[in-house]
Amino acid sequence: MTDILASLLIMAGLFFFMAGSIGLLRFPDLYSRLHALTKADNLGLGLLIIGLALHLRDPLIALKLLLIWLAVLAAGATSAHLIARHARRREKHV
Amino acid sequence: MLTTQWLYALSGCLLLALGLRSALLHPALLQRILAINVMGSGVFMLLIAIAYRGPGMPPDPIPHALVLTGIVVAVSATALALALARRLTREQPHD
């Protein structure tokens, strides 16, 4: 039962990764691409990690997985902020 | 050798050749430093592929040890090369 749920979560994670990549490729400008990217970081990896943690049922590994997700979340948000600010400054300069 | 080993080993050879070619021919200093790093990665890939023994089999630890130290030495050498390049740029202004 939990394995079915885990499978569904992992597949949903893949879906958001795909959506993020397609968005990155198809969206017209840097700012909208940023939004596509955060979907992969936040939802894609998050769902995948919850799925894997459910499947493994090991609290210690689950904790490590959670830490990985939090780190990617924070790094993703920070990078997005930095890159957007950098792009805005460049636009002003030109 | 296993198919997986062949795939990675041949890619390692290819990276070595790619890196060597650019290290010799690229006009810019920075890209030449990158090219030497690509060469190194090719050698690393070759070694790790040779160490591989198939799924579920413990790989040969000796190439792993070689590559592990190689990676750390490579980054130090890259830093030294960049420091040299920076000095060079400072001493001969381009414009």
């Binding site: 930095l82 | 070595l16 021919l25 890209q31 413990p58 630890p61 000796i62 980054v75």
Partner: protein, 319 residues
């Protein structure tokens, strides 16, 4: 079924790695080359993991993501304007002789790759390829650690590792000789600064963890040192003046700690009538941990100094 899918995975991963390397080296735009090279390094870490080399993958991850990228992106700041901003519009033109020469070099490189590939078929024919791996497996119980890579690095081939650390020391002395450190970074905005506040302790903790597990699982001085160095890089990028790197004599001691501890242990054993670096099995585990701790600090100090690009100076840091 699974094997087939993994094979397709391998092919796609390798195609990406080679494609990125090709594109990075074909470009005349330094920024483009550097960013592609960073992505190349990320995928290499995945490849090492795929080939069951987690020790190597750990080092590649810490160095590729934490050091090489930052080092190269910092190098963009002093790139001569001409090469930094060149786009594909001004393709250099070659004379016929130059074109011929380029083709000759390309051909020779391809021939080298071909010969190397051919030599691989010869390895396969030999039977000695597992001799060393078997020797490691047979003696691992006496090595003091159960991670075979750590056993090779700090026991069976400890001489090599000692010299490897000496090479690192030489590289950093060369960097110091070339001139002053690069200018520090401006104080980062609140977002990155607050990330730094909890990232740095986590990185230090992870380095300690890697050092400790190195005895029985993937990890060890090199991976831990690289992770610790990454913490220093993060602090420097955030615009901090204090990035944990000691100054003056303390820095010299830190840089020499790896080689020093190795020699100290080796000579002490020598004095006790054992071969140089021939640990007594009962003490091997403790001695290896001692050397590894010193080596981790030395590697971290070396890599951070290398990132800074020179000897940290006293007066500039008091802003």
């Amino acid at each position: 079924m699974n094997a087939t899918m993994l094979l397709i995975f391998d092919a796609l991963l390798l195609a990406s790695i080679i494609g990125l390397a090709w594109a990075a080296l074909a470009s005349a735009d330094a920024r483009r080359s550097v960013i592609l090279f960073i992505a190349f390094g990320l995928l290499l870490a995945v490849a090492w993991g795929r080939l069951l080399a987690p020790d190597v993958a750990l080092a590649e991850a810490a160095i590729g993501a934490g050091l090489t990228g930052a080092l190269l992106l910092a190098a963009l700041q002093w790139q001569p304007r001409k090469t930094a901003d060149t786009t594909n519009s001004e393709q250099p033109t070659h004379t016929l002789l130059e074109t011929g020469f380029r083709w000759l070099v390309t051909l020779l490189c391809a021939a080298l790759a071909g010969m190397l590939a051919w030599s691989l078929t010869q390895i396969d024919a030999g039977t000695a390829k597992d001799a060393l791996a078997n020797a490691v497996a047979a003696n691992i119980d006496a090595s003091g650690v159960s991670n075979p890579v750590t056993a090779v690095l700090l026991n069976f081939r400890a001489y090599d590792t000692l010299l490897e650390l000496a090479v690192l020391l030489t590289a950093v002395l060369g960097i110091f000789a070339l001139g002053p450190a690069q200018a520090g970074y401006r104080i980062a905005g609140p977002v990155f600064s607050s990330l730094t506040r909890w990232l740095t302790p986590l990185l230090i903790l992870t380095a300690g963890y890697l050092l400790w597990v190195g005895a029985h699982a993937p990890g060890g001085a090199f991976q831990a040192g690289a992770t610790l160095a990454a913490a220093g890089v993060v602090l420097r990028l955030a615009g901090r003046d204090q990035i944990g790197l000691p100054r003056g004599n303390a820095l010299r001691i830190a840089l020499g700690a790896g080689v020093g501890m190795f020699l100290l242990v080796g000579l002490a054993l020598f004095a006790l009538g054992r071969p140089f670096l021939g640990y007594p099995p009962a003490w091997a585990g403790a001695l290896i941990l001692l050397i590894e701790t010193a080596a981790m600090l030395a590697i971290a100090a070396t890599l951070v100094s290398a990132f800074i690009g020179g000897q940290p100076t006293e007066e500039k840091t008091r802003c």
